[in-house]
Amino acid sequence: MDSALATLLATKLGERLLLPVRQRFDETEIRVSIAHATETLRILHDDPILEFEMLIDLCGVDTGEEMQVVYHLSSSRSSDWLRLIVPGLERNAPRIASATSIWPGAEWMEREAYDMFGIIFEGNRDLRRIYMPDDYRSFPLRKDFYLADDASRSPAAGVRNMERAGTPQDATPATALRRTTGA
């Protein structure tokens, strides 16, 4: 881990950081709020010193209480992975600005996050199911979605709960269309 990157990030991002920069192994981790997510990504991407040009990974996380969107960035300047965590998406209507304006390659990863968690990325032109069929209703990777054999292991909660997995209000594809087209 290089501590120079930590200080640099602290100076560059300043008050946008929700928590101080954390470093463990070869990973540097910062947390910003939903409001600052896009401009933080923009800074990280455009800044001539940081130049985190590569979006290695984008994924959603369901902690049980809230939703998170986690970006893993890579820069030729530092030998560290930069992990940007955007916490605090409420589970019923998770919504965050899309990163496709900066990285067009994030489109499918956002589609996957929407498919698996129901997170709506505003500004993604093609936000629809990518793995699951279009008429699928629930979001498999949420914590309240039980697997069949998981159900068999825990007789109390299982197949019964499988189908009424939490579906956030207006997280359906139609509303995604409305959001993205501004209709």
Binding site: E27, I56, G105, W108
Partner: protein, 403 residues
């Protein structure tokens, strides 16, 4: 559908009547992009390629909008191979999770094991014995060679050549038998363990490896002589699907596809893991960024991998191949991102531990998933045949794409 002067086969006036049992209503667009894709202009029509198609590597379905032979637009449809591996991993303990990630990319499954194992080792804060690290490098490079040789056969096959695929399968089979002698399995070696590898090098593996190393380079070179300078092959791939460095970075491309655009980004150099910093090898790059460059970069990587294997065999230390660890892996709560440089790009695994014996969240990043986005932009305006050439040169494996 707008009134058309040149009717296409998707025109309801000449297509299957709505009454018949074969009638399928047109899908309703869900997003802006899909709506734009589903509107047909004059004389355009959809061709549905896959899920069962000779040249989609795995079960990929691509809906192509063509005007004559020209590809106007293209929309890959995924999910035919979706197993929900991430969910399965969240419901299994750490060893079982490795077992699940194994069949993700069946062409180079050792890398699919290496990424989660790296992440779990970070979580467990365990140091892998040096011999185990060397063995991992050795097996991974062997697997890389197997994947690349198979790729060059695939590439030739998708361009219509019958023979190279079989020759490259001969090469691949030798490596696969080698790894089977070492790991016990032929395709899904479940060989890496948290903190080491499953078993030490055995004699059969070493003897097979020795005989193979003695003639691998020459054999692979002579195989390449079939198509590398073939005018038909070169004319079909040069200048096709050109990808420039900036676009590649913005699209999140990694691996040989990125190096073919001139960006020398390779985790083995930029994010050193295992014993790669101590080994001496080059990062082959090209600047053209077209299909031919993507092909040739992989060919050069085969030679570099043989170099690496040679060094590893000379510097292999003695010692244990497994670190001392409890039987039940129960890491401290935390997050870790492990990544390795595979034959197709960066295989990443983002693991969150909540202190139990099961990963709380396990995100698997597969490069083929990202690279498949490029098929649309790179083939727009080319011919149908070029779709195959571009897809083959991007070298996606649907097992990894669909997770």
């Amino acid at each position: 559908m707008p009134q058309q002067t040149r009717p296409s086969l998707d025109d309801p006036r000449i297509s299957i009547p709505a009454g018949s049992e074969w009638y399928e209503p047109a899908p309703t667009p869900q997003t802006e992009r899909q709506a734009e894709f589903l509107t047909l202009k004059d004389g355009e029509m959809f061709v549905n390629m896959g899920p069962q198609h000779p040249s989609t590597h795995g079960v990929l379905r691509v809906v192509i909008k063509i005007d004559g032979e020209k590809v106007v637009d293209l929309d890959p449809v995924l999910g035919y191979l979706h197993r929900g591996v991430e969910k399965l991993c969240e419901n299994a303990d750490y060893h079982q999770a490795i077992c699940y990630t194994d069949p993700l990319e069946y062409v180079s499954s050792l890398f699919c094991e290496a990424a989660p194992v790296a992440a779990f080792e970070k979580l467990m804060e365990v140091d892998v014995p040096r011999r185990a690290q060397y063995i991992r490098v050795l097996t991974m490079e062997l697997n890389r060679i197997a994947s690349h040789t198979l790729f060059q056969g695939w590439m030739a096959l998708d361009l219509g050549g019958l023979t190279p695929i079989l020759w490259s399968f001969i090469e691949r089979d030798e490596i696969v038998d080698m790894l089977a002698a070492l790991t016990g399995q032929k395709l899904l070696y479940n060989y890496y363990r948290i903190g080491g590898v499953n078993g030490d090098l055995n004699h059969e593996f070493m003897s097979r490896l020795g005989t193979w190393m003695s003639r691998a380079a020459a054999q692979i070179d002579s195989n390449l002589g079939l198509i590398n300078e073939n005018e038909l092959f070169v004319r079909r791939t040069r200048g096709l699907g050109v990808l420039d460095a900036k676009t590649a970075l913005r699209m999140g491309v990694t691996g040989p596809n990125l190096r073919s655009t001139g960006v020398p980004y390779d985790l083995r150099r930029d994010r050193p893991y295992l014993v790669y910093p101590e080994l001496e090898f080059d990062i082959p790059t090209r600047t053209e960024g077209d299909s031919l460059a993507r092909y040739l970069v992989r060919i050069d990587e085969i030679k570099q991998s043989i170099r690496i294997i040679d060094q590893v065999l000379h510097e292999m230390p003695d010692g244990p191949v497994m670190a001392k660890l409890p039987r039940l892996i129960r890491p401290r709560p935390g997050r870790a991102f492990g990544a390795v440089e595979g034959p197709r790009g960066v295989y990443g695994t983002y693991a969150i531990s909540d202190g139990t014996d099961q990963p709380f969240r396990m995100r698997i990043h597969d490069p083929s998933f990202v690279h498949l986005q490029l098929v649309g932009p790179l083939t727009r305006g080319n011919l149908i045949a070029d779709t195959m050439a571009v897809m083959a040169s991007l070298d996606p494996v649907m097992g990894g794409v669909d997770k």
